[in-house]
Amino acid sequence: MNPLRETGLRLRLAVGRVPPVDNPHDHPTALKDLQDSIYREKVLRARAMTPEERFNSGFEVTKDAFQRMLEGAMWQLNTEDVEAGWKEVGRRLDRLRKVHDAGRFADQLPH
């Protein structure tokens, strides 16, 4: 088969559908379509939750994220000391705060 025809058949451009390309970077809209498709799924999942479920879910995902931060820190420090792990997590969060707060918070009022 002509390679171009084969590619055209594989693309199957349809509104709202991700073209079946091997690599989404190979087509001008495939990556955006894929991103939009993933985002749409996240939005629809959130919409299916009640407001209270969304609020409560924040606690669960936060606990999970902190646990992963702890495990990552302990692994990188090569330690089984949980306290040392949390101390390192705290240090990293301080660095993150400086990045997020850069230009937004000051230690003094302007004179």
Binding site: L44, E52, R54, V61, T62, K63, W86, R97, F105
Partner: protein
């Protein structure tokens, strides 16, 4: 200490000193958007008397260490106090003092009461419109992502967009709002 326990302690400390409060930041956003993790529990506190903030911090002292350093929001010059759990997970707390910025006061007056089954306690949170306006005003990339997500999940058609656009016009953030609305894919 779990994050729920930390959150409850903060809310109860505010109540103990008679200070009205409103949960803000990511936990308020989670009520309206796509739930995500955060590193801190943020609360706006109405400290009717100056000593109240010190009293809240004292109430929390056994569990949460505040550094004593006050920081100022460079947009509005509101005051922020940062604390961290003394043991276990490095959860952080941010207490924002309520002050006389017109939008900040409006947002606080419009806050809604919510019973959290997770905390088994009532809390106060901002409206969806106020979350949108506040985060657009802050304008950091993650804040703008949160705005997009609130608008996507709630749908602009279900929000008071006149209220949102009016405040954005006041704050000079209309272009940010327009860009976010245009970026929403078909849902």
């Amino acid at each position: 200490m779990t994050i729920e326990q930390l959150a409850l302690k903060v809310v109860e400390a505010c109540e103990a000193v008679g200070s009205d409060h409103m949960v803000t930041g990511a936990f308020a956003y989670n009520f309206y958007g796509i739930p995500r993790s955060t590193k801190d529990f943020d609360v706006v506190v109405d400290v009717k008397e100056k000593k109240m903030i010190g009293e809240i911090i004292l109430q929390l002292d056994s569990d949460i260490e505040f550094g004593g350093q006050v920081q100022f929001d460079t947009l509005t010059w509101g005051r922020r106090h940062i604390g961290r759990a003394r043991s276990g997970p490095s959860y952080q707390v941010e207490l924002f003092e309520l002050f006389d910025d017109p939008f900040v006061l409006s947002q606080f007056q419009r806050r809604k009461r919510l019973y959290s089954g997770q905390l088994q306690h009532e809390i106060w949170i901002p409206t969806a419109e106020d979350v949108v306006v506040q985060k657009i005003r802050w304008g950091r990339s993650k804040d703008l992502d949160d705005v997009r997500d609130v608008l996507a999940v709630q749908g602009p058609e279900s929000l008071d967009m006149d209220y949102v656009t009016n405040w954005c016009a006041t704050h000079g953030t209309t272009e940010r709002l327009s860009a976010i609305l245009e970026s929403l894919p078909p849902l």
